[in-house]
Symmetry: C2
Subunit: 408 residues, 2 copies
Amino acid sequence: MAAMAQNVVPPRGMRDFLPAQKRQRERVLQTIREAFSDHGFSEIETPVMEDAARLHAGLGGDNEKLAFAVMRRGLGPDDLRTAENPLDLADLGLRFDLTVPLARFIATNRGSLPPVFRSIQIAPVWRAERPQKGRYRQFIQCDIDISGEAGIVAELELLTATGDALRRLGLTDAFIRVNDRRLLFAVLDAASVPAEQQERALITVDKLDKIGDDGVVAELTESGLDGERVMGIIRALAAGQVPDDIDESALAAIRDLLDADCGVRLEFDPSLVRGMGYYTGAIFEIAHPELSYSIGGGGRYDGMIGRFSGTDVPAAGISFGFERLVDLVDIAGDGTETVGLVVDKKVPAQELVATKRSLVESGRKVLVANRARNVQSVLEQLSALGATHFAFVRPGDSADALEIKPLD
Amino acid sequence: MAAMAQNVVPPRGMRDFLPAQKRQRERVLQTIREAFSDHGFSEIETPVMEDAARLHAGLGGDNEKLAFAVMRRGLGPDDLRTAENPLDLADLGLRFDLTVPLARFIATNRGSLPPVFRSIQIAPVWRAERPQKGRYRQFIQCDIDISGEAGIVAELELLTATGDALRRLGLTDAFIRVNDRRLLFAVLDAASVPAEQQERALITVDKLDKIGDDGVVAELTESGLDGERVMGIIRALAAGQVPDDIDESALAAIRDLLDADCGVRLEFDPSLVRGMGYYTGAIFEIAHPELSYSIGGGGRYDGMIGRFSGTDVPAAGISFGFERLVDLVDIAGDGTETVGLVVDKKVPAQELVATKRSLVESGRKVLVANRARNVQSVLEQLSALGATHFAFVRPGDSADALEIKPLD
């Protein structure tokens, strides 16, 4: 039995959360949840599993390959021999994002939902990626989406709620890069990139951060496209100019966005692409001057939500990169006095329980630790559990008699 | 594509939660979480998956058979031919309870945890049971556990926290049936049931609710045991007598429990067994006079938590039957004024967003719905989303100009 102790760890790429970590995570999530909820979004929940066929319907892009597959129940040895492919043995899978489940949820429940539906989903997703620093196989996504609204009011509501959430998290310097897929396609049209090569060209432009301006030009040129022209137009747009061959109407949507006051700084970035193929209009990326990576993003993705219902449903959404945010922000506790009791082992059980009850009834939180020779280490344990105050409890001490002191 | 719409449902036995349901569930969970937390328990989290070998180590009883198995990644057709058993293809599984993960968590993290650790786990578990009314394949468990404490103070702290949670849920008539496995074994000893038949005898006594006193006597007698004697002793204990052949010492623990004031009514039930085999001392079952089923239970299970670390760790816990509670209780909202805006379609997007922001900044929650011919149905939608008030928004209306009225 002792041999088992060698390797008692969570599954690869997945994490346990100790009390202090869990408390921090819940505070940040609660802050985000409240901001979204105050702005008219309603939290929903779907099961962690979806039918395998639905997860692999092509809405998830490359993430589909990373799905954890759940085996059919009641399989026997014969099923192994007749299956041609391991996935034939799986009927369910763990979701790899919250967008496929949302599309399914709206198709399932549309009779019970308002025509324009603003949803919050704060929930874990699973991807069997090669584990590396900062990348996990189970992680939380925080998504808000508006389905059923084709107008720009959807984008403005999403940006306003996002701005307020960032503010409440103390990320007041955060800003949002905005662009529009329709503008990107107008740029590619102006540079004579044929329609069938435009998606691939966008994948190259998306690498700008990594390979730089010259790298993008080179890669486009290698593909037989006019890379210099593509980047020339993008550079001009970034400098506030409108090249002759870009129609003003292609800029109308982005201008409307930039003109609005959403309580958060918006920055037009004509080279912003966002990886996922399903965006159809405005696209967003949440940025912070002190961070080299984005802390969220989203955009309009008309045509996707309706895939499972067969009805066209316009939609837009933003996803917060919670795992990238959680360690950046410092959210204070709710101010409840949390008293760590350091209890002498001679205190009778019933007496201790009466003291705890009495302190809880007075509006405090109570933590308990047994007194040990190293009192300092006991106080540190209590602090890690969230204690703001402490008191020693000896036999015969009633709650009123305790000397409660701040813990620093 | 339209054909898919026929069958767009969550996986069998699993549920979507619409906004009103999700809100109710979160309120009840938050009430339970706060009660437990106030009484010194700390929330932790483990991944939803554990190694398959760990899930099937014999700690989960019959539930092990109900685990959803997760396939190894990167399997090819060859793996199917060489596998002897479908489970050879699975390396992970979804947890079927929170006790196996807790045992693993404590083994993994014991260097970072206090010697006596009071944990809260509020999280979903999965069991591939035959779906039926009130039984789901994904459901929430709410567990508190104390590990590292062998004394009765652990039981008293668990009962006190449970009592307070029940009170905060408004279940003031709830009470807790208590018994002790050691007393049950003393009863079986007194009735000359051989040690090797005692576990099976307890399974029969556990059926008392279903098959009645006579049924239990008959089944024990059929097994060649003195059923009349077993039930005679239990009846005497229930009537407050101590039969000659039951030693007072076997009753000492239960008397200590019953003498304590945990803020919740305790009722000695000498026939209480609790299904799971791993209990070693006190056992509990949360009951309510108006309900025919229990709404939670637990007990002491020394020897189990230590299974993965190889060290003996005494432990006791109580699990709330959240899915059985959630529809019984009525938790009020937090009192935040939630204004449903009924918006004329001529209101410019930017104007609406400014109004929303202004109302949120004044401390309100805001919901939005488009004005439709049937205003009553729009108000009902807003109410389902949690609106307590409503206001009509016309073009040019600023937030200050809105006439906000209660929604009833």
